[in-house]
Amino acid sequence: MTYTSFLIKIFVFLFLITSYSIAQSGGNSLTYIEYHPLGNLNPYENITLRNNNLRFQSLIYQGLFKYDFNSEEYVNVLAETHRDLRNNRFRVELKRNIYWHDGQPITSQDIVSTYEFIMNEGKLPIISDRLRNSIISIEINSATSVTFHLNDNVTVDPRFLLTQWILPHHLISTRQARQSFNRRPIGSGPYKFESLSLNGTLNLTINEKYHFKKPSIRQIRTEIMPDFDTASLRLLSRLSDLLIDVPVNRIATIDRSPDHRLEPYQSYTIHVIAFNFNNRLLSNHRLREAITIGFDRQTALEQWFGGRGRVLSGPFTPGSPYFNPQIRPRTHSQNHARQILRDLGYSDINGDGYLQQANGERLQFRLLINNSVSDAGMGMQNVVQQFQEQMREIGIQIIFQYEVTDNYDQRLMFDRDFDMALVGWSFDPTYDISYLFHSSFIRPGGGNIISYRNNQIDNLFNQFRDSNNNVMRANYMDSIQRIIYEDIPYLFLFTIDRHAAINIRFVNTLIDPIYFFSKIEEWEIIQGL
Amino acid sequence: MLENLYQEVLTLEANTMEDKIILDINNLYINFKNGSDIIRAVDGINITLYKGKTTTIIGESGSGKSQTVLAILGLTDGQPGIVSGSINFNYHNLLENIPLFKSTNKNEYKKLDKWFHNQQKIFKKIRGKEIALIFQDARASLIPYYSIKEQAWETWKKNNSNNEKLFLDRIFHLSKSLAFENIERILSSYPNQLSGGEAQRAYILLSLLGNPELVIADEPTSSLDPSTSKSIIRLLVDLSKEENFSLLIISHDLGQVLSISDSIYVFLKGSIVEELMIDDKDIILPKHPYTRFLLSMAEGKAFRELRVNKSIKRGNINTTIKGCPYANNCSLKYEKDEKFKSKCEELKPDLKKVHQGKVACWFYE
C-alpha cells in the first residue's frame, strides 16, 4: 500500500515538473486552432471551399472589396473608388501607395492577372464559373484603374464579384513562379507568411510596411487539432489562445475556465428537414403542417444547444437583411398535430402505436442523414433522435438512413431517393435562395432537391432577379417568405450560434462570421494577463 | 583360506592406489522436486576414481548416473539439486560448506540455492580445464551455427593462450590420435555436415583442448552404430593412456565397457548395487542378480529374464522406496524363503565387501 502511494507521489512530482515546464503562450502572439488541415496556400488551387482556408487567407490576402457581415455593407479595401458606368461597365480605381509583402507596388496588372487566373485555371468551379458567367473582359485604364465589362444578366452588386483575393502578377504569371508562390505566398494583407510545417502549423508575422492600420498582434500561429477535446486541452493549458468554433454541447467545458471568454457570433448556417414532394403523402400540405407542429423545436434547441440559437420560421437567419421577425414560427402542439392527422384520415387500426393509411400501410418515412463527422454533428444527431421520438408520439414512424457524404449527395442531389432529409445550408452575401425553390432547379443536380413547384414563387423570384431596387427586392423576398411559410416545403429547424473561445488577454475582439479575422486590426492585447 | 589371502592382497593394492585418487564422491544425495513429491535421484553413493584408470558406471536410464556426472561439474538443473555429500577432486572438496538440509522447507531450498549459486565460481574453474564432459549426442552438443574451427578456437582461447600456431599444432597432433583423415574439412564444416562418428570425435577433440585431468563420457556411443561406438570407446581409452588422463565412462551396455574398464559401478534406482573391480585377467564375478542380468544381456542369454524384467518401473524413484531397489524383479528371491523375501522388500541392503568387489544384497549377508 505504501509502495503504491509512493508511486503516486512520484507521478505527482513528475506532473508538477512537467506542468511548470509547459511553455505558456503569451506576449504579442496569437495561437489559434483549426480542426481540419489547411489547404493549398494559393487560394485558387484548392479543390474545396472551406472556412478554415478563408480565415488564414483573410490575414495574408486582400481583395478589392470586402463584405462586412456585421454592418451588412461592402467596404473598399484595395479599391479607392468605384463607378458604375453604363453598358454594364464597372470601373475601379486602386488606392495609391499600396505594396505587396516583397515591396513591389500593387498595380492594375495584378488585378487583371488574378481574375484571368481564377477564370481560366481556378480549381473551384463555384467561383470560376460564376466569374466566367459574369465578367466578359477586363480593361486596364492606367496603372491604378481597371474597367470590368460585365454580362447583361448580372443582377448582383458587382462588388460581390470583386471580393476575390488579389494575387501578385509577378508570382502567378509563370508556372515556375507559381510553384514558388504556392510555397511562399505573398499578399498585401496585415500579416506576412513565415512558415508552414508539414503537420499544418502555419506561422504568420506582422507586415511592417502594411499600408492601413497596423494590428497590435505581432504574430499569428495556426495549429491543426483533429478533435475538439485535444483542442480544448491545448486551450485550457494556455498553449493556445483561440478556438474558432466551440461545439455548443461542449461549451460548459470552456465556460468554467477563468482564463477564457466565450465570444458568440452569428452563423449563416441553418438546419432544415426537407420533405420530398415526389412522395405521395408528403406532397400533402396538411401532413407537412402536422409534422411541423408536432415537433418541439424550441425544447430541442434548449436541450441540445443550451438555447444558443433561434428557431426559424423561414429560410433566413436573423442576421440577414431579408429576415422578417414578424413571421413567427408555428407553435408546438401535439394535440393539434394529432387532430390534423385524424382529419387526414389516418388512424391506428391495429393498435401498434403508429397510424395507418386507408390501405392499411403504416405511416412511415425515411429520414436521410449524412453521417460524416461535422462540427455540429453530435448535437444534430440528438435533435434527430428527439424528432423521431416526438413523431412516434403523434403516430408517425421515422426510419433513419445514415449515408456517407458521397452517397448522401448522390441520393439527395441526383437520385432524389429520400422521403425526408436533414440538410444544412450556408448563405453567401447575395442571399439568392432561388436555386432552392425555383422550379427550374428541379433537374438532377439542381438545388431544388425537394422538387417544389409553385408558379407564384417562380414569378416572384424572376421579378426579384430583374429588379435593381433594394426596397422592391425586399418586398419580393418578403412575399416569398410568406408563401414558403404557408406552404412548408421544409421543416425549418433553427440556426445555431457559434462561439469562439478566446483568452481574456485579447480584448475588443470583433469577429467576422465568415472570414473571422477581418477586423484583426481592432484586436488589442492586455499585457500581464 | 585362499579367499582370505586374496582379500588381503586386494586391500594392499587398494592402499597403494589410494595415493593416486583423483575423484572421490562420498555420500552424495541429489533430490528433485516433482510437484509436492520429492524424487531421490541419487541416493547416497560413494565412488572413487584413480588416476590413469578407466572407470565405468552402468545403469539403466533414470538410475541417476547422469545426475551424478552433472553434479561433479555443478551442472544440475532443478530444485533442490545436490543436498548433501562431498565430491573431492584432487583432494579439494567441491561441495564445501554445503548447508545442512533437514526438511522440505522453502527456506532450506533457498539456502541450498544460494549456496549452489556461490559454488558455481569453484565449478567454473574446473570445467573444461580440469574435467571435461562428453555428451551423448555430439552433434547436438556442438553449436549449430559455428564451424568446428571457430568452436575449437573459442575453447582454446578460454583455456590456453591466444597463440594460433600452438592451437593448430595441438589440433593436428590430436587429429592424428583421433584418426581424422581430412582434418581441414572437419574444421571448416558445420555440425550438421558431419556424420555421427565424426561429430563425436570432433567433440572429443574440443574437450581435450583444455588438457583435462579427467574426462567423463556420458554415454558417448548411445547415438552411434555398434561398430563406430566400439571404435570410439577404444579411441578414448587409447587417448587416455596417451594424453595421461583418467576416464569415467557412463554406459548402459555392460558388454561394451567390460573389456576396457578397471572398475565398474552398477547403478540401480539412484543407488549403487554392486562395485566390480576388474583385474588384468578379465575375471568377472558379478554377485548381484541385477549385474548378472546385465551381463547375461550383454552375452545374449537374457531372453527368459528379459520377460521378467519388463516390469521394472523406469525412473520412478521415490522417497518411499523401502528395501532393495531390485526386490520386485529379483531372480534370487524365488529361491529364498518367506523370511528373506520380506527382508528384501523392507530393508535396504548396504554395500558389503565380497571377494573383489562390493555388493548390496541380503543374499550375501
Binding site: P37, T48, L236, S237, L239, V373, D406 | F135, P144, T155
Partner: protein, 291 residues
C-alpha cells in the same frame, strides 16, 4: 544462398504488387459521385501506385511525397520505440524472474501484466488518458514537435508507446516467446556442453535469440501498424495512420492518391521487414545453413 534470397525477393515484389492491386480495388469501390466509373478509377490508382507518379496533394498544399515521408518518420519512430520498449521490458522481467526465482510479488506482477496486456490498444489508450487525467487533471495528447518543450514531447510519445506495447497482447507475446526460447535454449544440449566446457553462454544465447525475435517482429508488424493507426488518432500523433484517418474523415477532400501512398508505405514496410527476416533466417538459422 543468393538464389534463395533472390527467390524471396521476387516473391515479395509479387506479393507487394498483389496487395497494391487489392488496395486499389478497395479504393476504387469507395463511393464517389464526382469520379469516373470503377474500372477507370482502378486504372488511374494502379498507374499512380506503380509509377510513383505522385503530384501535389489535392487537399493540402504539399507534395504527397513530402507529407508521406514526414508522417512515416513519425510512425516508424513510434513503432521502433514500441518494439524496443517491449523487448527491453520482457528481457527485464525475465532477468528479474531469474534473479528472484521464488519472489511472490514478482510472480503476481508478471501474471497481472500477462493478463492485462491481452486487452485491445483502444482500451489501454483510453484508460491511460483516464489515469493521466486523474493524476494531472490534464491529458497530454498533442505536442508540436518543433516548438514544445522536451518534457511534453517525451510525455506525448510515452503514452502512445505504452498503450501500443501493452495492447493487443504485444508485451505478452514477446515475453512468452523470449522466455520460451530462453528456456528451450537452456535445455539444448549445446548450451549444456558450452557450460560444461566452461565457456560463457551469453553471447551465443543472444545470437540464437535474434532469429526468433525477428520472426516475431515480422509476424507482429502488421498488428503494430494496425495498432499505431488507432493510437495515432487517439493521441493525435501525426503519422501515417493519422493521415489515413484524416483523408477518410475530412469531408469533401477526396485525396485518395495520398491515402494510396500512405498504404503503400505501410505495405512496403511489411514486405521489407519480411525480407530482412528471410535474410536473417538464411544466415543465422542453424537449420537453414546449407549442408
Amino acid at each position: 544462398m543468393i538464389k534463395k534470397i533472390g527467390y524471396s525477393l521476387v516473391k515479395s515484389v509479387l506479393n507487394l504488387l498483389l496487395s497494391v492491386i487489392f488496395i486499389c480495388v478497395l479504393l476504387a469501390l469507395i463511393p464517389d459521385i464526382t469520379a469516373d466509373n470503377y474500372a477507370l478509377r482502378f486504372k488511374s490508382y494502379f498507374i499512380t501506385a506503380v509509377t510513383f507518379n505522385y503530384d501535389i496533394s489535392l487537399a493540402r498544399g504539399f507534395y504527397i511525397s513530402e507529407l508521406v515521408i514526414d508522417a512515416s518518420q513519425k510512425t516508424f519512430l513510434l513503432i521502433f520505440v514500441t518494439l524496443i520498449t517491449v523487448i527491453m521490458i520482457s528481457l527485464v522481467i525475465i532477468i528479474l524472474e531469474s534473479l528472484f526465482n521464488q519472489n511472490y510479488i514478482l510472480q503476481i506482477i508478471v501474471t497481472v501484466i500477462k493478463t492485462i496486456s491481452t486487452l485491445p490498444v483502444l482500451i489501454w489508450a483510453s484508460l491511460l488518458i483516464f489515469f493521466a487525467f486523474i493524476i494531472w487533471n490534464a491529458v497530454p495528447v498533442y505536442a508540436d514537435l518543433e516548438s514544445d518543450s522536451l518534457w511534453i514531447k517525451t510525455l506525448v510519445i510515452a503514452l502512445p508507446v505504452i498503450s501500443l506495447s501493452l495492447g493487443d497482447g504485444m508485451l505478452m507475446d514477446f515475453y512468452l516467446k523470449i522466455k520460451n526460447e530462453l528456456s528451450s535454449l537452456n535445455q539444448q544440449q549445446w548450451v549444456k556442453s558450452l557450460r560444461a566446457r566452461g565457456i560463457s553462454t551469453l553471447k551465443h544465447k543472444i545470437r540464437s535469440l535474434i532469429v526468433p525475435i525477428f520472426n516475431l517482429v515480422s509476424s507482429k508488424i502488421t498488428y503494430l501498424i494496425s495498432g499505431s493507426i488507432i493510437v495515432e488518432y487517439i493521441f493525435s500523433w501525426q503519422g501515417l495512420g493519422f493521415l489515413i484517418w484524416q483523408v477518410l474523415m475530412t469531408p469533401g477532400a477526396k485525396d485518395y492518391p495520398l491515402l494510396l501512398a500512405c498504404c503503400k508505405v505501410l505495405l512496403i514496410t511489411v514486405i521489407i521487414i519480411s525480407l530482412i527476416r528471410d535474410y536473417i533466417d538464411f544466415t543465422l538459422n542453424p537449420h537453414l545453413i546449407e549442408k
